[in-house]
Amino acid sequence: MATLDNDYLKYPERSYGMDHDRYEWAMLHDRKPITWPNEKKIALWVNVSLQFFPINQQGIPFKVPGGMTKPYPDLRHYSLRDYGNRVGVYRFFKALDQFNITPTFAINTRLAERYPYLLGTVKERGNEILCHGYHMDKLHYGGQDIIEEQELVKRSLDTLRELSGQDIKGWISPAKNESENTPDILAANGITYFSDWVNDDMPYEFKTKNGNLTAMPLATELDDFFIILNNLHSAEDWAHQVEDAFEFLLKETETNGGRLLSLNIHPWVLGQPHRIKYLEQVLEKLSNHNAVWSASASDILDVWKAQK
């Protein structure tokens, strides 16, 4: 058996706080309680991820979760993802409107380029748009050439800002994956908040070389793709988990101030005919509850920033 160098038993970062300098170590429990508008207890952030998975996937440096898995041309995964942008998302629009939910839309820039009708529909709705990277196969990753990544971020943001007419402030990397430079590059390109770090239930300050960002939690654990296609639970099980999470968070607000329930949903997952009912049930339950404030990520963050 090959043996290890003695450096393997050295721990250069073994000291108080984190093993990096991106944010301060702080338990949520010890932070100042936040009050949402109109004495609401739970801020509900519903984020719809609108994604383009190219069929000529390069998989650098890995195959994106949810991407192509078969030899080229993987028509089955390509078209099943595309289903979300053609059919599922229109079911989403109806459900969101029926229950008076304010969503945000995290859009791959390449999708905005390819489907002007879909982008136009989102623009007309007036909902906030976040940039979800260029497309699902353009990953940000450790060891990525910094110039290449700078160009990728700039192109993704410049194009989406131009096409959407919105001054995009929010970012979610494809697969929530980053290089060591991603937060610095985002801050240099006018991003003020991002959702790649799933290490908290409330927003927090995140340091970059180009000023602070706000890390805005978007739970992977309640993501429909994660629960239904990674964990292989039913859509009904997804709904149970959201309900249980909501009940628990609501209880926690009795002693800890306002909480955030973030739901990241994908039209190619919950937009299927056999699943949409469970999304509707969840939205109905949440919208009928008087403790819930449904708002865009930016509106939630504005309230948080004023009180932090």
Binding site: L4, Y16, E178, V198
Partner: protein, 316 residues
């Protein structure tokens, strides 16, 4: 390499001597929260990759960090509510990184046992002296920060060598005599404690720490739904409680704050804890207390029974 690690003898699960836990309890119930620190940029180990993506591997790292920032308090409050002291499987570097968590557990008289330094540093490839140093560092760190003489060990990320149990016991003796290094959570062969053979002949036991009830195995490997996991915990308890009338059993729930404390999972966990602790003949305890009680009262009886049973049809 050996075909059998050689730590214990065959001991059939029938007609065993009757173990009775304190106050006639049929089952010893303990919860082992793993309080871990995973590194953002761990060094390479030729035998195991810490993260599937190149560093910085956000998906795994950030979810573990969530456990410390958000999840810990949730589980701690819950255990307190049901009168359970945690037996912490500790990445001992967490004493340096997050002493606040250590203080909260100390105030509640929880047990700390060693789970290595970081959960991203594996035993694979370590020389005997490197592994000895790593284990010694971990026991010394626990003592320095908590005053506790570490009784138990669960190898970091369940990465073992052929020497792991021997080294843990030997380092425990070297530092604190018989007061440290006497139980292991690394073996999953039984629902009752087992005397373990070590090179040194030190009195040492394996205490059941269930992988099957481990939340990370349930959620990440089996991909169980939270409500189903809660049901499995209750089913596991029901059977062990019933069998405990014949000879005392052990139920352990090993947990991870980044799994079980999620808002969508903690309710199912609470229901199980409420159910289990609501039964009369349950000894709600810690890993160390079980090991001590067994060694003080049943160790020799069990050794004799193992010997008798192995003679019944002749030795292998």
């Amino acid at each position: 390499m050996k075909e059998d690690p050689g730590y214990y003898d065959y001991w059939p699960y029938e007609n065993r001597p009757r173990i009775q836990w304190p106050n006639g309890a049929k089952i010893a119930f303990w919860v082992a929260p793993n309080i871990e620190f995973y590194e953002l940029n761990p060094p390479n180990n030729p035998y195991r990759k810490p993260w599937p993506q190149p560093n910085p591997a956000l998906p795994g790292y950030t979810s573990r960090d969530w456990g410390n920032r958000v999840g810990h308090i949730r589980q701690m409050n819950l255990l307190e509510k049901y009168g359970i002291r945690g037996s912490i499987s500790l990445s001992t570097a967490l004493c340096d990184h997050h002493p606040e968590i250590i203080e909260l557990c100390k105030e509640r008289h929880w047990e700390f046992f060693s789970h290595g330094i970081y959960n991203t540093r594996y035993t694979y490839g370590m020389t005997e002296s490197q592994e000895r140093d790593m284990i010694k560092d971990s026991i010394e760190t626990i003592y320095k920060h908590t005053g506790q003489k570490c009784a138990g060990y669960l190898a970091p990320a369940l990465s073992h060598s052929e020497n792991t149990l021997d080294l843990f016991a030997e380092v425990g003796t070297e530092l604190f005599g018989d007061e440290a290094g006497y139980y292991s959570c690394d073996l999953f062969h039984d629902d009752q404690p087992t005397p373990i053979h070590l090179k040194s002949g030190k009195k040492f036991v394996s205490i059941p720490y269930s992988l099957e009830m481990n939340d990370t195995i349930a959620y990440l490997v089996q991909k169980t739904t939270p409500r189903r996991y809660g049901k499995e915990l209750m089913d596991n308890f029901d059977r062990l409680y019933a069998e405990g009338a014949e000879s005392g059993t052990i139920m352990c729930i090993p947990t991870h704050n980044y799994q079980v404390s999620n808002a969508h999972r903690i309710k199912a966990y609470e229901e199980a804890l409420e159910y289990i602790t609501g039964h009369p003949d349950v000894w709600v305890t810690t890993g160390k207390e079980i090991a001590q009680y067994f060694m003080d009262n049943y160790y020799d009886t069990v050794l004799a029974d193992i010997e008798t049973k192995n003679k019944k049809y002749g030795n292998a």
